[in-house]
């Protein structure tokens, strides 16, 4: 009995050694705390349509009414182009490369739009802090909240929200 026990012990030892070697094999996958930006992240709502960054533009554009004007800027170097769709209460920017067009930025212009937490132009600064908590960056006249690669900025003048922008964070 003693001999077999010794042999099994050796076997386990071997496997343990293998496991420990494995430990340092783990990829340093320090994935930054990529919150689920797109699902639970920021969004802008306007008469029943929810607009999120990174979504296929086609779906949203068909849901919205036809834009007041549509404008393309072709950046021949990078081979893609930027589109600007102007609506009465907001401006919508998209990035187009090949046939894929993705929503890239939204600029709110009047109080018909509201954020996913129901804040719109004219809201009190205190309401913004109540809804979104402490701002990631506080400039003079602006509160900025960052989540993942997205950023929601409120322009504030004497305590009232006068502008809202939702865009991607560039390094």
């Amino acid at each position: 009995m003693k001999k077999t026990a010794k042999r099994i012990l050796a076997m386990i030892l071997m496997l343990l050694l293998a496991m420990s070697v494995m430990a340092c094999g783990k990829k340093e996958s320090g994935d930054e705390n990529e919150t689920k930006g797109t699902q639970k992240g920021f969004a802008i709502q306007i008469d029943g349509v929810t607009i999120r960054l990174g979504e296929q533009a086609e779906k949203t554009l068909t849901a919205l009414r036809t834009p007041l004007s549509q404008n393309e800027l072709f950046d021949c170097g990078a081979g893609n182009s930027r589109m600007l769709y102007r609506y009465a209460s907001f401006d919508l920017y998209t990035m187009k490369s090949g046939e894929t067009e993705v929503i890239d930025q939204i600029e709110v212009k009047d109080d018909f739009c509201e954020t996913e937490k129901g804040l719109c132009i004219g809201a009190e600064e205190s309401a913004v802090v109540a809804a979104y908590g402490e701002a990631t960056r506080k400039g003079e006249g602006s509160l900025t909240y960052v989540s993942g690669n997205q950023e929601l900025t409120f322009d504030v003048e004497n305590g009232q929200v006068v502008g809202i922008g939702l865009l991607r964070v560039t390094q």
Binding site: N71, Y93, T144, E151
Partner: protein, 347 residues
Amino acid sequence: MKKRILIAVCALLAMAILLGLLQALLMPKYRTNPEGALIGEYYAESGGHDVIFVGDCEVYESFIPAVLWKEYGISSYVRGSAQQLVWQSYYLLEETFRYEKPRAVVFNVLSLKYGTPQSEAFNRMTLDGMKWSTSKVSAILASMTEEESFVEYVFPLLRFHSRITSLTADDFRYAFSAPAVSLCGYLMQTGVKPMSEELASLEGPRLSDYTLPKTAMDYLEKMRVLCEENGCELILVKSPTNSWGYWWYDQWEEQIVEYAANHGLTYYNLIPLCEEIGIDWSKDTYDEGVHLNVYGAEKTSRYFGKLLTEQHGILDRRNESALASRWTERVTAYETQKKIMEEGNER
């Protein structure tokens, strides 16, 4: 044995020559997109310039050396190229000072918004034209994007080999020499595509970070020091064009004004001076306000020439016979090309 070595040497020699020919054949000739050929045209024309312009497309579409000479006797050359990044401008300047010592260098500040390499295509357009020197090597190393490799600059054949299946007559005709596409670096555009009222009212979209990238500002500083060492004045300029896609943000303006003030440089922002320059956005642009056409550029050059003579003491050298004869040739070339292109537009 000797026969074998002879055959080997001949074979290698033949292969080397063949590769040279193929490379000349396969290099893009930039006839349809002429902005790729600008940099290479400087070397035949180098020397005798008081003012050198460097920067991106806003430079080679806004300033016309022929007009500067005709109106003010200023001898100048434009070393601009498509999406020229600030470190590329710096190394181009470093190279230019080896050829000549201008009195002033004019740099368009819009390219300061890029802190990292942007696109391989534009890198090739700017760098392939340069002659080989330490400046070219450092420019390549500073500009290479992820997928590029240095050996593809040393042997462009490795990069452009796939063009073998799409060669055109131009590739054969211009394999070894090609007529200049620019007039002392100015790329003429005679088309007119007015900028609508609505388009003019648009502003650039919100940015998440308005500070100009540190790498870009460092190279601006290096450019300033380089000009000082070569006894020439660095003048900063922002061309009058300001479309929503290439918007000049006020926050950027503040940073450049502050930088110029701290270092005793003159900085001209031509955007607010459009009326004074006389620019009419329904006639003076060929792409709805993104760039000026020849008429807009003439007005800008006339305005800027006055500044150069009055503020920066650039002399009127129309009385020097050697220089004058060279420039009359260039001015006539300018005018004939303008006439041909205008007639071409009418048809």
